[in-house]
Amino acid sequence: MQWGFPENVSTFGGEIDSIFALILYVTAAMFVIVEVALIYFLIRYRHREGAKAEYIHGHRRAEVIWTVVPFLLLALLAFRSTKTWLGLKSPDRFPRDALELRIHAKQFEWNVTYPGPDGRLDTPDDFVRRNQLHLPVDRAVRVTMTSEDVIHSFFLPQFRVKQDVVPGMETQVWFQATRTGEFVLGCAELCGLGHYHMRGSVTVHTAEDFERWQRQEAAASS
Amino acid sequence: MSQSATMAMPAGRTMPGMGVYNLKLGMWVFLLSEVMFFTGLIGAYIILRFAHPDAYTDPGTVLNVPLTAFNTFVLICSSVTMVKAFAAIEAGDQRGLRLWLLATVALGAFFLSVQGIEYFKLASEGFVPIASLYAAEGAPLYGATFYTLTGFHGAHVTIGVLCMSFTSFKAFRGAYTQADHGGVEIMGLYWHFVDLVWIILFTIVYLI
């Protein structure tokens, strides 16, 4: 069994993993402080015959310290997270020349519409593949998603991508693969009986391979 | 002394604490939860309307604004008669109390009747909450939100009218005195609240 996160294959995944690590350091430090203090006090101040507790009601300065220090740490985490988040999610920060794909989710399948050889959606050479997500490496992909029935969630663990797909609404994500290979597409939102098998495969090709694949598939569908 | 009488503290008895007797404080607390209930429904209405502006028509095209404006006036009047009833018993005027309470019951019932007639008319024009039967202008969401908001208010008025009838019945039995009339007071609180909610609902459902 492998510990930690699955291998990261997207351009921004490393940044997400590093924020995870940052939070891990901060909380681990806090964890050690709290648990060590707890255990130390329990041993040091355990009841002894004839001992009496000290009659103290509080300490103003201590209250200020343990309000301000967590505040600063959390402000740091919030600041760091906001930067990455808006960079990823703001519509105006989406990459320009991305490959456009469309996904229509329904119980319990992912229908991916590819632009075909001409590289544009809504043209006659478009074609649809069920549960197969193919993309080129090193090129941003932008997916526009809709749902037929209930809420699903488009989950690419190795890309650090998750986005709910909501009926009556369009949602978008983008990502960019850093290496070729086979990866996993899953559904992360409970969507009914078949939620557990609503999965697909993700194949990352080289740019040329992807072109070839698109041409071949478009020909096969027409 | 019966146990619940002691513990529920009869009206008019001030406890340590807020300087308000339990029943009145309890009514205030309860009304806070009612405020949240209507806040939730109104919030839902606002979200839906912003998300689907086309589902709603201009004010006055589907709903009958003049009729409801008149009905709103009726409900406001009933708040005035409620105040009169309370003022009467504060002054020890039993006859005034009974008369004004009856007037309030009557106005409340009148409001409900007008609303019933309005519902009937709207429904016959295809303005219904059920999506598959909707046949009026706008979209089914309009009907669903309209009936939910006004319907829950109407249910509150109905409960109010029933309780108010009971209060009146007790008033005729002489249950309230100048010194002890908490029942009238908390009835009034509820009634004014329901009235206030209506003014808000009328504004956002009919006028905007």
Partner: protein, 590 residues
């Protein structure tokens, strides 16, 4: 004056308690009996919720294997002992629902707000005893309805405890018919029960305090329950409203949440979480109160930073209203809004930090007695912080992209709700058991139960963080079909075995509870040498509670005061006459 009324009243009650059996134990208006009724009901639901979890763990530990004897559950659930996905979905939904709405919430509030508030403020009963009785008897049909849902055709609700529409509203999508309607109705009814309760608790705390019981002399459980009641009062109506709209969508054919009928699925999520986040604090604030009480008692030391503790609870309660969006980061909500919700969510960790450090401060230089309730309270502090820390990961929007709807969230839930709330409940039951039943629970069994629970709890739930990191989705019936999850079989098996040991350990608690009820050592009025008013009444207190309305002279945590002879100083003990004039008791009304 109340004092007079109350004295007359109690005297009356003490001398001739001639109520019939039914009035005394079944349709009782006595807050103590009602609290105990809630206790039995919610423990029953705790057991049922636990059993459902055992079934869940079977499927996850040994996916697709027939459960020995499982076929007894029927063809529509486990044909041949192999679980069906639809039954799995119902199990998860009902496990979450029963635990949150029917076990933990009534345990914390229904039981202890009822039992403790009048005793701790020095009142003979609640402000509205009959309303209180009605509150319990409204919860019962809600519970029956919820259980009945298991037996309707189509199976029980299966859309998760969060019941997101369209799945929860359209039978064609979920395959669940009346089960989902039963679920909705039951929670609506339960909401009325909670509302009646909170109107009572709030009025009682404000109006029925004994002379001298100023606001800042209230024990922390009462403070926490008071603030929790305000949260309930304001949050439940939002849920009720949302549920009514859901019910209309389910049965009337409206379309509030259904795009095909012109509605908005995200509306439900906003309404549900606007209620739901305050709800999770409803599930922890009372626990904070109990733990504060027990730690101060066990350490024989005044609670560190009493005012800071009260302010922290109030701030958490307030901030809890503006963080709901953190459950919806990946829902398609505007990313700017997401960033805002992240900031408010991070801020809420600060008052929580204040609480944690003040508990540590209370232990510092104390004289720590490790009685069983104290162990649970210490376990609470140690475990709750882990749940809090995992919350910080989830609060970070970019990290939540990956962790949302994975087992990391499941780990978070159980660290805060089991490591937090349930540990505090174990502590509170053990601590107030002598007051409730006049007998002590067995200390040794309590300590063994604590130790084993502590171990197996961590063995069960800590590895779930790793499942989440590996990308295992929650609410998933069979993960073995996923390439990246197939390797998680052994870890899941380990978790399941630990979960069974954890459940088995709970039998110790159940046994101790039942045995002590009948055979436990007789309790004195004040076995823990504690200060608050409930210990001034006999164990168990009679109908009407106090022989004489107590007068309060000081705060509730005056342990180890230098000029007192013992290491505790009850709130109602009159000050000893010293050369200097004794301070006047502060009249009620502060």
């Amino acid at each position: 004056m109340t004092t007079v009324a109350a004295v007359q009243h109690t005297a009356h009650a003490l001398h001739h308690d001639d109520r019939s059996f039914i009035r005394k134990y079944i349709f009782s208006t006595d807050h103590k009996i009602i609290g105990i009724q809630f206790l039995f009901m919610s423990l029953l639901f705790l057991i049922i919720g636990g059993l459902l979890a055992m079934l869940i763990r079977w499927q996850l530990g040994w996916p697709g294997q027939p459960l020995p004897g499982g076929a007894a559950l029927g063809e529509t659930r486990m044909p041949g002992g192999v679980m069906l996905p639809e039954f799995y979905n119902s199990l998860v939904t009902m496990h979450g629902t029963l635990m949150i709405f029917f076990a933990i919430m009534p345990l914390l509030v229904g039981v202890f707000a009822n039992y403790l508030i009048p005793l701790q403020v020095g009142a003979p009963d609640m402000a509205f005893p009959r309303l209180n009785m009605l509150s319990f008897w409204t919860a019962v049909p809600a519970g029956l309805l919820m259980v009945a849902g298991f037996f309707v055709a189509g199976g029980h609700a299966g859309a998760g405890w969060t019941s997101y529409p369209p799945l929860s509203a359209v039978p064609e999508y979920s395959g669940v018919y009346n089960g989902q309607v039963f679920w909705t109705l039951s929670i609506i009814i339960l909401g009325f029960s909670s509302l009646m309760g909170s109107v009572n608790y709030i009025t009682t705390v404000i109006n029925m305090r004994a002379p001298g019981m100023t606001w800042f002399r209230l024990p922390l459980p009462t403070w926490a329950l008071f603030i929790t009641s305000i949260l309930i009062l304001l949050a439940i109506p939002i849920l009720t409203g949302a549920l009514i709209l859901l019910l209309f969508d389910q049965v009337l054919g409206t379309g509030f949440y259904l795009p095909e009928r012109g509605g908005q699925p995200l509306l439900w999520q906003h309404l549900f979480w606007f209620f739901g986040h305050p709800e999770v604090y409803i599930l922890i604030l009372p626990a904070f109160g109990f733990v504060s009480e027990i730690i101060s008692n066990g350490a024989r030391k005044p609670l560190f930073g009493y005012h800071a503790m009260v302010i922290a609870i109030a701030s958490i309660a307030f901030l809890g209203w503006i963080v709901w969006g953190h459950h919806m980061f990946q829902s398609g909500m505007n990313p700017m809004l997401g960033a805002t919700f992240m900031s408010t969510t991070m801020v809420i960790a600060i008052p929580t930090a204040v609480k944690v450090f003040n508990w540590l401060g209370t232990l510092w230089r104390g004289d720590i007695h490790f009685h069983a309730p104290m162990l649970y309270a210490i376990g609470f502090v140690a475990m709750f912080v882990i749940g809090g820390f995992s919350g910080v990961f989830l609060a970070s929007t970019p990290v939540d992209i990956f962790l949302h709807d994975t087992y990391f969230v499941v780990a978070h839930i159980h660290y805060v709700l089991f490591g937090g709330s349930l540990f505090a409940i174990f502590g509170a039951i053990t601590y107030w058991f002598p007051k409730m039943f006049g007998r002590m629970m067995n200390e040794t069994v309590g300590k063994i139960h604590f130790a084993l629970t502590f171990i197996f709890f961590n063995l069960t739930f800590f590895p779930m963080h790793q499942l989440g990191d590996a990308g295992m989705m929650r609410r998933i019936y069979d993960y073995t079909g996923y390439a990246h999850l197939a390797g998680l079989r052994p870890l899941n098996e380990f978790i399941s075995v630990s979960a069974y040991l954890l459940f088995a350990t709970q039998l110790l608690f159940a046994g101790n509870f039942l045995w002590s009820l009948l055979r436990g050592k007789k309790a004195e009025p004040n076995p823990w040498r504690a200060n608050s008013l409930e210990w001034a009444a006999p164990s168990p207190p009679p109908h009407g509670n106090f022989a004489e309305t107590p007068t309060v002279y000081r705060g509730p945590y005056e342990y180890s005061a230098p000029d007192a002879d013992e290491d505790y100083l009850p709130q109602d003990r009159p000050p000893v006459q010293r050369p200097a004039p004794a301070p006047e008791p502060i009249p009620a009304g502060g």
